[in-house]
Amino acid sequence: MDGHQIRRWEGVLRRLPVTIPNPFDPWAFRDAVARQRRRPIRILRLDTARDGVVGCGLWVRARVADYIVVDRDAPRELAGHLLCHELAHILLDHKGLMPFASAALGFDRLDPEMIQRVLGRSGRFSDSEERDAEGLATVVRSFAARRSPVPRPRDGDSADMVAIDRVSSVFCGDRGWLS
C-alpha cells in the first residue's frame, strides 16, 4: 500500500465514532462496533476451507444480529485479521450479496429469509469492496497503535469523558471533533 492509500484509510478510521482499542484487540474492537451499532455481532468459528464454501471469512447480516464467520483453523493473528476484514465491511456499510449456502457452513438454524446481506473474504481482492475492507483491516492495527487510549464517548457518559475525547481529537489528531 502506498502512502496515499494508508492516509485514505486512516482518514476513514479517524472519522469513525467507534472506540479503537489501544493496544489493538480485534475482539474488543468487535465489541465496540457492536455497541456503537446497537446490534450484536456474533462470531462463529467454522471450517470455511471445505469445498464449495467461501474461504476464510464471512459476514452475514440478519434482521436482529450480524454474524461473522471466521476460519476455525486459522492462527490467532490471521483470525483477528479476518474478523477485522468483516468488521470493515460492516463499518463501510458494504452492500454486496453473494451466494450463500447456509447448511454447508453449519447454519442449520438460520432462516435464509432473515439474511439481508452476505459478504465474504476469499483472499481475492479484485472487487473494490473487498479491497477496501482488506485495506481498512490492514491499517487499523497500526492506526490503533498511534492513537490515544481514550475511548470514544457513548450516550450517558460524563462530561469529563466527552471532554477528554475532544482533548484527544485536538492534541493527537486521531479522531474527528465532536461538538
Binding site: 500500500m1 502512502g3 494508508i6 486459522a74 492462527p75 487510549p149
Partner: protein
C-alpha cells in the same frame, strides 16, 4: 519578553514551526474544530514572538517603521494573544456550547491589557540608542504589569484544566503532552514572578541583572508549551522511527517465505509490497506481510506430508541445533515440500498427501508470533541457499558456520544438476529470468535488448509449437489448433491478421514483450512485484523478483554447466543458447570460458533453419538499434 542571541532561540523557533506545521496539517483534515484553530494561533504567535526575540529579527520592525524597540511591543502583544488563544482552546475543550460566551469576557480583558501595553510603550519614550529594559518609568511599569497580569490570569485558567485532563487520560503521549504543557505554563509563571521581582527591585533603585534568567525562562516556557501541544501527535511517529530498524529486520527476513507463498497464491496480495517501507507504513506493511504468509500457509494445508517435517526435525536435531531452530527447519521443509506438491499437482486433482492424516497440519500452520515466522523464513532461506550452493549455510542467528541447517533431501522441481528444464517454463519466461538478477530482479542487459530478445523468444515458442514458419525474412503462420497458452495464442492471432517481414514483427512484439512475459510469469507465480523508490523525487518503481531464486539461478547454472561440459542440448536449450547469443549474454553466462563459448557458437551455427533465420533477423534488428551492454 527578551532579546536572545544564539542557537537556543533558533532551536526553540524550529520546534514551534514544526509543531505549527504539524497542527496546520491536522487542521486541514479537521477544519471544523475551533480548539484546533486556537492551537494553531498559539503556536504561530509563540513562533513569531520567538523569532522576533532573535537579535537580527528584533531590529527589523524598527528599521522598517523607525519606531524604536517596536519588536518588544509586538512580542508582548503576541504573547498576550497566544495566552488568550490557549484559554479559548481549553474553554472549547470543556464545553463548546458555552465557550464563545465565556471567552467574550477574556477577549475584553485582553483588549484592556493590549491598550495598557501599547499606551505604556508609547509613553515610555524609548530611543534607538538605549536598550529596551534600561528605563524604568511609570508607563513601562504599567505596561509590564498589564502583560504579567494577563499571563497569570491565563495560566490559572489553563493549568487547572490541563492538570485535570492529564489525570483522566491513561499513560500515553497525550498525558505526557498535557504535563509538558502544564510545565511550560508554570515556567511562564516563573518568568512573570522573576520579572515582577526585578521590576520592584528596579523601582527601589537596586539593579538586578535579570536579563539572562528572563531569557532562559521565556524560551523554556514557549518551547515547552509548543512541545506539549505537538508531542501527542508527533510522539507516536517518533516511536515508529525508533522502532523502524527492528521492524525492517523482521520485514526483510520474512521476504523469502512471503515470496514462497506468493508462488502459490498471488491473489492474496493486496498490493505490491515496497522493498523498504517508510516509517509511516512500516507497521502496516509488516502486518500485511505476516497476514499474507499466514493466509498462504493455510492454503497449503492439504498438501502437507507430515513425514517430511518429521524427517527434517530429526535431521536437524541430530546436528545438535537448538529446539526452536530445529522446529523452524522442520516447518520450512514442510512448507517447501507442500509448495512443490501444490505446484506439480494438476488443478483438477484435489491432491492428497501420500501418507499421514490430512488434518495433521501443525507443521505448516506456524504458531507463535512474528518472530517464530521469521525463524521459519530464515530456515526456508537457508534451505534455498543449500539447494543453490550445495553447502551448509551458516546460522544467521548464532553465527555458527556450516552447522545450523541440515541438508534437506526434499524433492525439488528444479535441481541444479538436472538436465531438464522446468516443464511449465516457456522459452520467453526462461530468457526473461536469465536476463535479470536471480535475487534482485535487476536487468543484466540494456532494456531494448531484453525487449527484442523476448519478442524473438515469443516467435520461437510458436516455431516449436509448429504454428509458425520462418524462411529468411518471411513469416508464415501455420493453421491448426490454437496454442493453449493465452499469450502465444494472442501472438499467433496477430500474425494471422497481417503479413510483415520478421524484423517488423519482432519490433512490433518488442513494444509489449516485457509486460506480456512478466504477466505470464506473474500468473505462474514465478516472479513477484516489489516497489522501490528511485531518484530525488522518490519515484515509485515496481521491480519483479523471482519468488524462488533457485528457479532463476537454476536456469542460468543449468545451461552454463551443459555448455561447459560440451553436452548435446535439447531443442529448448539450444534455442535458449541461440537467443542468449543474439542478445550477447552468452559471454556473461560462460564467464569468458573460450572452449565453452566456441561450443555455444557451434550450437548456434547448427540451429534448426527457421530458428536460425529468426535469430539472424533479431541480431540484425539489435545491431541496427543499439549495442547491447551489460549492466
Amino acid at each position: 519578553m527578551a532579546v536572545v542571541t544564539g542557537w537556543p532561540v533558533l532551536a526553540a523557533a524550529v520546534v514551534m514551526m514544526v509543531a505549527c506545521a504539524q497542527k496546520l496539517t491536522q487542521l486541514r483534515r479537521d477544519p471544523d474544530s475551533p480548539a484546533l484553530r486556537g492551537v494553531c494561533v498559539v503556536l504561530a504567535c509563540l513562533g513569531a514572538a520567538t523569532v522576533l526575540g532573535w537579535e537580527p529579527a528584533y531590529a527589523l520592525p524598527t528599521r522598517i517603521t523607525g519606531i524604536p524597540h517596536l519588536a518588544r511591543l509586538l512580542q508582548h502583544a503576541l504573547a498576550l494573544l497566544a495566552a488568550a488563544a490557549l484559554q479559548s482552546v481549553f474553554l472549547f475543550l470543556a464545553d463548546p456550547q458555552t465557550a464563545g460566551r465565556r471567552m467574550l469576557r477574556r477577549w475584553l480583558a485582553l483588549l484592556a491589557a493590549l491598550t495598557v501595553v501599547t499606551g505604556g510603550f508609547a509613553a515610555s519614550g524609548f530611543s534607538t540608542a538605549s536598550p529596551a529594559g534600561d528605563r524604568v518609568t511609570p508607563a513601562s511599569v504599567a505596561s509590564v504589569c498589564a502583560v504579567l497580569g494577563y499571563l497569570t490570569f491565563a495560566a490559572i485558567d489553563v493549568v487547572g484544566s490541563a492538570t485535570g485532563y492529564s489525570r483522566l487520560v491513561p499513560s500515553s503521549p497525550l498525558r505526557h503532552g498535557l504535563r509538558l504543557l502544564t510545565t511550560g505554563i508554570l515556567a511562564g509563571v516563573a518568568y512573570g514572578i522573576h520579572k515582577g521581582l526585578s521590576l520592584v527591585l528596579a523601582v527601589i533603585g537596586y539593579r538586578w541583572p535579570e536579563a539572562a534568567i528572563s531569557q532562559a525562562l521565556a524560551v523554556a516556557a514557549m518551547t515547552l508549551v509548543a512541545a506539549g501541544l505537538a508531542l501527542p501527535s508527533v510522539g507516536p511517529y517518533l516511536s515508529d522511527a525508533v522502532r523502524w530498524p527492528a521492524r525492517y529486520g523482521l520485514y526483510r527476513d520474512l521476504a523469502p517465505l512471503w515470496r514462497a507463498v506468493y508462488r502459490i497464491n498471488q491473489d492474496a496480495i493486496l498490493s505490491p509490497p515496497p522493498r523498504r517501507p517508510s516509517i509511516r507504513s512500516m507497521s502496516s506493511e509488516l502486518h500485511r506481510r505476516i497476514v499474507e504468509i499466514r493466509f498462504g500457509l493455510r492454503t497449503l494445508d492439504r498438501f502437507v506430508d507430515p513425514a517430511v517435517g518429521g524427517d527434517a526435525a530429526r535431521a536437524a536435531s541430530s546436528l545438535g541445533v537448538p529446539a526452536d531452530t530445529a522446529r523452524a527447519i522442520a516447518q520450512a521443509a514442510s512448507i517447501a515440500d507442500a509448495i512443490h506438491r501444490k505446484t506439480t499437482t494438476p488443478p483438477t486433482d484435489p491432491g492428497s498427501p501420500p501418507e499421514g492424516d490430512i488434518d495433521d497440519v501443525a507443521l505448516v500452520a506456524v504458531d507463535g508470533g512474528p518472530r517464530s515466522l521469521v525463524r521459519v523464513s530464515r530456515a526456508y532461506h537457508g534451505h534455498l541457499r543449500l539447494r543453490r550452493t550445495g553447502a551448509v549455510a551458516p546460522d544467521r542467528e548464532s553465527g555458527t558456520p556450516g552447522r545450523s541447517y541440515p541438508r534437506l533431501d526434499l524433492p525439488r522441481p528444479h535441481e541444479l544438476e538436472t538436465a531438464m528444464p522446468r516443464h511449465d517454463m516457456t522459452l520467453a519466461g526462461e530468457l526473461y529470468l536469465m536476463c535479470h538478477g536471480d535475487r534482485s530482479g535487476r536487468p543484466r542487459l540494456h532494456q531494448r535488448a531484453i525487449e527484442i530478445g523476448l519478442a524473438a523468444a515469443l516467435l520461437a515458442e510458436l516455431l516449436y509449437l509448429n504454428r509458425l514458419h520462418i524462411d529468411g525474412e518471411r513469416v508464415a503462420p501455420i493453421d491448426g489448433a490454437p496454442p493453449p497458452d493465452p499469450l502465444a495464442r494472442r501472438v499467433w492471432d496477430d500474425l494471422r491478421k497481417e503479413t510483415h517481414p520478421a524484423k517488423k514483427w519482432i519490433a512490433y512484439l518488442a513494444e509489449t514483450a516485457v509486460e506480456d512475459v512478466i504477466g505470464r510469469l506473474h500468473m505462474q507465480g514465478i516472479i513477484a512485484p516489489s516497489v522501490i523508490r528511485r531518484g530525488l523525487r522518490s519515484r515509485q518503481v515496481t521491480v519483479w523478483q523471482p519468488t524462488d531464486p533457485v528457479i532463476a539461478a537454476g536456469s542460468w547454472a543449468r545451461l552454463s554447466v551443459l555448455l561447459r561440459q560440451h553436452a548435446r542440448l535439447m531443442p529448448f536449450d539450444a534455442a535458449l543458447t541461440g537467443l542468449l547469443h543474439a542478445v550477447e549474454l552468452d559471454d556473461a553466462l560462460l564467464d569468458g570460458d573460450r572452449p565453452a563459448l566456441e561450443h555455444a557458437r557451434f550450437i548456434v551455427t547448427h540451429l534448426w533453419p527457421p530458428l536460425a533465420d529468426l535469430l539472424t533477423e533479431t541480431r540484425s534488428l539489435l545491431d541496427s538499434e543499439i549495442l547491447a551492454h551489460r549492466m
